[in-house]
Structures are given as C-alpha cells and as structure tokens.
C-alpha cells in the first residue's frame, strides 16, 4: 500500500474515533454537577434567571436534540460560541493553539536533546558509575510532580539567578524560545526520563545484537556503527513511546501553562471546565483529539521509514 493511500485510510478511520470522542465528551460534561447557567450567572442569581439563561443557551432542549446540533454544527466546522469568552469557540482555539503546539514541539525537541545523548552515555557505560548517576537522577525526575519542578526552576533559575524571565511568552520566534524555555524544560524532564530509560535498554539490546558484533568485527568505525546501526534500530521503539507520550505532554500543559502563566489551550481547558463552558470544553477536546491522532499517524509513518520490515496497512 502506498503511503498516500495509507494516510487516506487512516484519516477515514478517524471518523468513528471522533464520533466516539464527541459522544463521550458530550455526556461527560453534562454529568458534572452544576451547569453553564449557574457558572455564568453566579451563585447570587435567582432560579428564574438561571432558567432563563438555560433556555437562551438551549440547555432545556432534549439531550438528543442538543447532541444532534453539536454533531451537525461540528461537521460544518462550527464549534459553537464560548459562553466564557463571549466569542466563537473556533476563534478562541485558533488564538490559543499556536502557543500550545509551540510548547509541545519545544518540549519534544528538548526531551530528545536531553534523553538521546544521556541514553548513549548510560548504555555505553552500562553498570558503571555514569550509568548509575544518570539513572538515579532521572528516577528522581520521574517521581516529582510537574508543577513542583516548574516552581523550583522558576525560583532558582528565574527569580534568583535571573537567567530566564518568570513570565510572558515573547513576540518573535527567538523571544519565544527564550521565554518558553523553562515551561518546556519542565514538561520535557518527565518525558525525557521515560525516553532515556527506554532508549538506554534499546541501545543495550542492539549493541548485543549479532549484526552489530559483525559490524565491529568488520572493522567499521565506532561512530558509524552507533549512528547507522545502533541508533536507527534503537529508535524504533522510542518513536512509538514518544508518540504515545504526546498525550502526556498535552495534559502536562494544563499544569505548566497555569504555573508559568502561558495563555495556551491547557489553561483554557481548565478555565472552561470550571465555568462549565460546554461548547469550549467540547471544542478543546476535539482539538486535542485531532492533534493526538495526527501525531499517532506521523509516528506510524516515521516508523515505517525507520524499519522497512514494518508495512503500512
């Protein structure tokens, strides 16, 4: 199957996935106690006011009708109007999307930059002190909550040493790299710990493989062996893991965007949930689902490039 046909097939298969996501999120938000009318009018509003707002928002219609409206409007690209932001959900999301995507991609790049070299050092020094040190440090990183790491980094690197700004997110690309370094590192530390462990054992496994021993025996320079044979083969499982941890990275933005005051989709999601802003929660969930699905697709495509034995089907 050619990659193009494969991509189309995968995109087609996303339709039932998305339908399920829509059903689940639609029901989930409505199962929460409280509703947008209460959140909107505030605790002080009278019951009659609340009822009037419910009617205006269409919440008094039967659930089936509400879901049909949600479904048909979404298919036409209309995610509805955010109650909280008083503007179209699509506009609000398009506004916040770039910053979250930037933060996520930045975190992925940083986790690879951190995990990659250290995994090699650990694997090549298996069982000796560098291996032990690296593994211990990452173990600690894994067991600390994200918001705590974030605050520690902010306190020392930003507030005390003034190496980085505490807040803001910059206007130009360079400024963004600088301003979003700490939030990205915070998210990246956790992911890199997972990737490092996986990559290290994958490298060790590959190093013991017969084809590597053969390459050595053949007298290939170590750099070539590591680059061409070891890294490429060790990366296969790491790419899968990285793809899977995109979900983690995205949910991590809920916390980091709040701690670092970055106005992205994660913080918006929190605000939307607290305000019971059904259209916004639904729109954000669909966007997150879309992003994750696309990442999974890219992961599979990339894997088939790395390992020709894997067929696209």
């Amino acid at each position: 199957m050619s990659s193009l046909t494969y991509i189309f097939k995968r995109l087609f298969l996303m339709i039932p996935t998305f339908f399920l996501v829509m059903v689940i999120i639609f029901l989930l938000v409505r199962m929460l106690p409280g509703d947008p009318a209460i959140a909107m009018a505030g605790d002080r509003a009278s019951d009659a006011d609340i009822q009037a707002i419910r009617e205006r928002l269409g919440l008094t219609q039967p659930m089936v009708v509400q879901f049909w409206l949600f479904l048909s409007n979404t298919v036409q690209g209309d995610l509805g109007r955010s109650i909280l932001m008083r503007s179209d959900v699509t506009t609000v999301i398009v506004d916040r999307l770039p910053i979250t995507v930037f933060l996520t991609v930045y975190s992925v790049v940083l986790s690879l930059l951190i995990a990659g070299p250290l995994a090699f050092v650990a694997a090549l020094n298996r069982g000796r002190w560098p291996d032990a040190v690296i593994r211990t440090v990452f173990q600690v990183g894994l067991s600390m909550p994200v918001f705590y790491i974030g605050l520690v980094l902010l306190t020392f690197l930003a507030a005390q040493l003034r190496l980085f700004p505490v807040g803001g997110y910059g206007d130009t690309f360079g400024e963004r790299l600088y301003h979003l370094f700490l939030p990205s590192v915070t998210v990246a530390l956790y992911t890199s710990a997972i990737i490092m462990r996986n990559l290290r054992s994958a490298i060790i496994e590959v190093l013991d493989a017969e084809y590597v021993q053969f390459a050595r025996a053949k007298g290939l320079p170590a750099r070539l062996i590591l680059g061409r044979h070891v890294l490429r083969n060790a990366l296969i499982s790491t790419v899968t893991l990285l793809g899977l941890s995109i979900g983690n990275l995205m949910s991590g933005t809920l916390v980091t965007e709040t701690v670092f005051a970055v106005p992205g989709m994660g913080r918006l999601m929190l605000e939307a949930i607290f305000a019971r802003d059904y259209p916004l929660i639904q729109g954000l969930t669909l966007t997150f689902a879309l992003l994750v699905s696309l990442v999974f697709l890219m992961t599979d495509l990339f894997q088939s490039r790395l390992d020709p034995r894997m067929r696209l089907q």
């Binding site: 929460l32 106690p33 409280g34 009018a41 605790d43 019951d47 609340i50 008083r86 902010l154 106005p263």
Partner: protein, 526 residues
C-alpha cells in the same frame, strides 16, 4: 509597613515645602484572573467589576469611610421631600476619553441601560426607578417609591456613565454585541474614567492608557491620573505571581496568599499592603428538617448550630489559615466596614463548655456524621477542614470532607445537597441591603441556600428597603443582626483584608473595601 510609613513621612518632611509630584510611567500589575468585558452593566465577575471604575465614572462617588456619597460626574444632588425624586446637576465640561462632551442624554442612556432587566444582571438593584429624564445639565430620577439605597447605587459600578454616541456608532445588532465590539475595538470614546482600554489580549494581558481629558485634579493642580498607563498581566498561580514581583518583572501582585504575607513583609524590596475589605468568610449550614437524601438533619436544631459556633476557635482558625492576617466576624451578617454593621464582638466567643451543654441539650448522639463541602485544590479550605474536624470532635461530631469545584458547590448550595460548605462574600454595593438580602432574606436565595426562614427577619428586611430615616433603618438592621446571630444559619468565621504586594517604587495604589482596584493617584518612580 510601619517602617515604610515612617520612611515616607521623613522623606516628605525633608523635602518640604513642595515636593514635585511624581508623574508618568507605566505600572505593571500581576492579576490573579483576567477581565473579559469591562462594561458597567455586563460586569458580573470580580475581575470585571473591580476595573469598571478605572474606565468609567459614576454620578456620585463613595466617601473614603464608605458611609456617605460625594460628588462625582454630578456636582450636586437633591432628594425631594417625599423621597420619590432625585435631581442631579451635572458637572460642566466633563469629556469622554475621546474628547467628546458628556451630557444629560448620556446619563439617561446609561441609567436606562442599567435598569433594563433584559440587559443587566444588576437591574434589580435599580428596581425603584420609574423614569430618568434630562434637561440641559439637570437630570431627574423619578422613583415609584422612596429608596434609601438609591444614592449608594448612583455611586456603584453598574450605574457608571457610558457615551451614547459611542454605542450608537458601534456595529452590532444587540446591545451586548455593541458592547463586546466596543471593548474589542479598544476605542477611547466610551467612558470618562481616569483611563481608557488601549490593549487587550484574551487570557494574557490588558493595557490601560491615561485619559488626558479626565476631570479630577491631582495634588499638583494638574489632571489625574499621574501614571501614563497600567499594564496588567494575568498570572493565575499564586507562587508565580509573587516570583514575578520578586524578579522585578512587575511592580505589583494581587491576592497574595496569607501564608506568604510575613515573608514578603520582611522583604526590603517589597511593601506588603493589607487593605481593609468587606470580605467575609463563612460557612452556610443546612437548616432544613431533612437532608436532601431524606435522612433527618441534626443541624436543623438551632442549638446544634450554636454549639458548632461556640466550639469553633476563631482565633486559632485565623492563626492557621490566615497566619494572623484577619479578624473574627463581629456582625453575623456583614463585614465591619459595612454601613450599619453591629459590633457584637465577640460573636460566639470560643466556649467549649457551652458548646457541649448545647449539644447534650439537643440530644445529639456522639459520632454523628456531618459533611463539610470544600473547594478542591484550596489550601485554605483544606486547613479549615482539618482544624474544624479536631475542634468539633469533643462535641461528638464526626466531620468528613467532600471536595468539589466552584460550580458544583454553587449547584449544591442551590439544591440544598450539603450539610455545611465553605463560602465567601465581598460587597458590590456600599449598602448593607445587598449582603443581608443574600445571607438572610429567604425569597432572594433561601438565605444563602441554608433554607432558614424567619418571618420577622423577612418583614424587617422589606421594611428597611423603604425606610428613608437613617436611624430607623439602622435600628431595623440592628434587630435583623440580633435575630440572625441567635439562629446561627452560618458558621461565623472571619474577615480578611485584600493582600497586595507592591514594589518600593509604587505609591498611591488602593484597593477599596469593595475590591475596586484604584489607580487614579498611583505613581511609580523608576
């Protein structure tokens, strides 16, 4: 703070006779939450309400002590003999921020908007107004019945004056669309306050620029404000907000958690300000005979509620939750700073023996389970629960916790599905009727969801709403406070100040007891 005040006094004395007024510069202010729409009639969340006064003016202004009104856009006002009409004379030469003159037509437009129940959630507060008319600089408000709160209402954010011309010119089918359009366009024309909105990034930042046409004068005889502008950044996380101030990235950070106050007071680069507020922290108690699930409610007995109040060591709570930065409630219905607040201090002074006696009188079985509903993620609420659980254990109460988010708590308050839950209040209006209507008057909100109903209280409240004689009105509020304290539909807890930390460069910033952020006379020296 004392050190700073002394320092300022000495500096002021040394530089006598005339110190040049500090002017210019932009104040960078870190907020806990952002504004969404700053329009007098649509502002319904504190981050919106508290900024209205910076962009718009009201006809009258609250006095510094909060107990009377002073001239605002109206330089004088008179109430008719029968109390059924108020005449105001508008100040000459007031301009909106775009330079267009403010007139009687703007006042009629603004007040008609404000009292339209289809538009404003606050319209009920202006229910006594029959009509508003203008003749030149004279505005007449005709009332259907005398209204003792009307003058206070004319000094409240929702009656602030907007430009009719700006609204007429704005695109949009409905008033709400026009308002949102004006806000999004960041146009200077809509208000006559000390600033106008000149920058806005949803969820991130907001900018106010000085209104050069503002009518109030500063100490140097020139127009206020002293600042060129204010730049707001939204930093929802408490710790990050403080770090930004400490790193010098902002000049001020609001809503400092009380656990950090002492540390910031010790910081030589920071002035920790604790502004007196009308904020009270209390917990409604379900007074219904049966719980929502149908089981008998031990809290329906007033003696049990009194016992819980006596068994709560308020000073200890203030110690552990506020690190001392607060005081026990001294009126059962309002903060000390509210007009007509009765001083009942000590209100249910800690008395374990009395509490135990009341419990056994009421025949409460040891081990009785009571649920405290708290806000998930709130460190204050977690501490309150832990403290109350210990304090009430000797009374035979087995206190369990249920953690929910704000919207869930609101829904439970409405439906009565709770035993006791944490809550707070800040006055929006400089008059006790709003808070008393909320906490005690049954028709408004079932006495803050407690289900408490007292015919005497309700009729006193209705009479006070018409009573024009201040002394007689005060007496009615005094009796309401007595009745309420006795019935104890609440766990009466404490009042807290507004904690704002500012850099040493900042002076003159004020947060009023109602919470309004006032930058009119703020300065920043760079």
């Amino acid at each position: 703070m004392l050190k700073t005040v002394l320092g300022m006094t000495i500096a002021a004395t040394l530089s006598m006779p005339a110190m040049a007024q500090e002017r210019g510069g932009t104040l960078n202010f870190a907020r806990y939450d952002g504004s969404r729409l700053i329009d007098p009639i649509y502002a319904d969340r504190n981050p919106d309400i508290w900024m209205v006064g910076s962009l718009f003016d009201t006809l009258l202004r609250g006095s510094a002590d909060g107990n009377s009104v002073e001239p605002g856009l109206a330089e004088s006002h008179a109430v008719s003999e029968d109390g059924k009409s108020v005449t105001l004379t508008l100040r000459e030469g007031v301009l909106f921020a775009d330079g267009s003159p403010m007139s009687g037509a703007d006042v009629v437009f603004s007040l008609d908007r404000a009292r339209n129940p289809d538009l404003s959630p606050w319209a009920g507060l202006l229910g006594s107004i029959d009509s508003v008319s203008a003749d030149g600089n004279s505005v007449t408000i005709a009332l259907s019945a005398p209204d003792p709160t009307l003058l206070s209402m004319l000094a409240t954010f929702n009656t602030a004056i907007v430009s009719k011309a700006a609204f007429d010119a704005a695109a949009g089918a409905t008033d709400q669309d026009k308002s949102a359009g004006i806000f999004a366009a960041k146009s200077a024309g809509v208000g006559s306050g000390p600033f106008y909105l000149c920058g806005f990034e949803q969820g991130a930042s907001m900018d106010f620029c000085a209104n050069e046409n503002y009518w109030r004068m500063g100490a140097d005889g020139k127009a206020l404000p002293y600042l060129d502008g204010v730049h707001f950044e939204i930093v929802p996380d408490d710790a990050t907000r403080i770090l930004r101030l400490q790193a010098g990235e902002v000049d001020a950070a609001e809503f400092i958690p009380f656990s950090r106050v002492a540390e910031l007071e010790a910081d030589p680069n920071i002035k920790m300000q604790l502004y007196p507020s009308t904020r009270i922290i209390y917990s409604p108690i379900n007074t219904r005979e049966a719980r929502a699930d149908g089981s008998p409610n031990p809290l329906a007995d007033a003696r049990v509620r009194q016992a819980l109040n006596y068994g709560t060591n308020k000073d200890a709570l203030i110690g552990v939750v506020l690190h001392g930065a607060g005081q026990p409630m001294s009126s059962p219905l309002m903060a000390k700073a509210t007009q007509y607040a009765a001083d009942m201090d000590p209100l249910y002074a800690y008395d374990m023996d009395k509490a135990k006696a009341l419990m056994s009188e009421a025949g409460v079985q040891p081990g009785t389970e009571v649920t405290l509903t708290t806000l998930a993620g709130s460190a204050d609420d977690a501490t309150i629960f832990a403290a109350l659980q210990q304090m009430w254990a000797p009374l035979g109460i087995n206190l369990v916790v249920e953690q929910v988010d704000g919207a869930t708590r609101g829904a439970k308050n409405r439906s009565g599905e709770f035993d006791i839950h944490t809550y707070g209040w800040v006055n929006d209006v400089n008059d006790p009727s709003q808070v008393v209507g909320w906490l005690g008057y049954t028709p408004t909100a079932k006495a803050v969801g407690t289900g408490w109903e007292n015919p005497e209280f309700n009729s006193l409240f209705e009479e006070a709403a018409k009573e024009m004689d201040p002394e007689a009105r005060k007496a009615k509020f005094a009796r309401m406070q007595e009745v309420y304290a006795e019935a104890a539909p609440l766990l009466f807890m404490y009042e807290t100040p507004f904690a704002v930390a500012v850099g040493n460069a900042v002076d003159g910033y004020v947060q009023t007891p109602l919470g309004n952020n006032i930058f009119d006379e703020a300065t920043v020296s760079r």
